[in-house]
Point group: C2
Chain length 144, copies 2
Amino acid sequence: MSEETDPDEPRILSANAAFYAALTALDLPAMEAAWAHEPRAVCVHPGREALHGWEDVRTSWERIFAATGWMHVEPTDVRVVAVGELAVVTCSENITTRAEGGVGVASTRATNVFAIRAGAWRMLLHHASPVPVNVAPPGAGAFQ
Amino acid sequence: MSEETDPDEPRILSANAAFYAALTALDLPAMEAAWAHEPRAVCVHPGREALHGWEDVRTSWERIFAATGWMHVEPTDVRVVAVGELAVVTCSENITTRAEGGVGVASTRATNVFAIRAGAWRMLLHHASPVPVNVAPPGAGAFQ
């Protein structure tokens, strides 16, 4: 989405990457650091209703992390629109998880909104929704 | 999401309402008027991958309108965060449709991003995702 590149784009991308690093590491303190702790914080997990307010958002991540044995989330197709102190990042989330039921892959589409808080970009909204998974055919990888 | 009310909030809400009016009326010219016609336009229909660029977004609405006999979309829980010329609106979409297969109800959660273009708020991103439908129990309405 970035014909006009915002001079702050590297910092916005870094904030987006920090969110996915926290997710992959199942690291609640890092997740807390990624977010704006405000009543207006919004989080929509795939296929779920919206959670409003940092307390409910934080609790949801705590539960997800507790229920997940291992997770890797690789963001791709990351695009930024920023105007002043508000930024919208869109990306695909390529997710591999290991929980009690085994290993699963999922593909989601995310809209992430960041705002400047005390000089740093903090997440104000995370909206992820399921998309059809593209399964690579046998032999499509580098090792054939 | 609006502890701090933006002075432009009524115009942003009006732009959001115009989008849902276009959707309910299956009115392509009105839908065209609601959007920013730009390569950075993004649209995620429920359960689908993202469409990038106004041309693809427009085509998707054209197809949806052609395939839909009748639709009513009622936005509720509408919240706004705006900073300068960028605004994020979140809401629930309560959808009733009539198509070839009969009448259906759906509930989706939307994140809508608007930007000022030529003095008017235009949609830059629409991200809708399915949520569980709450079906009112018999006798829960006004007419019992």
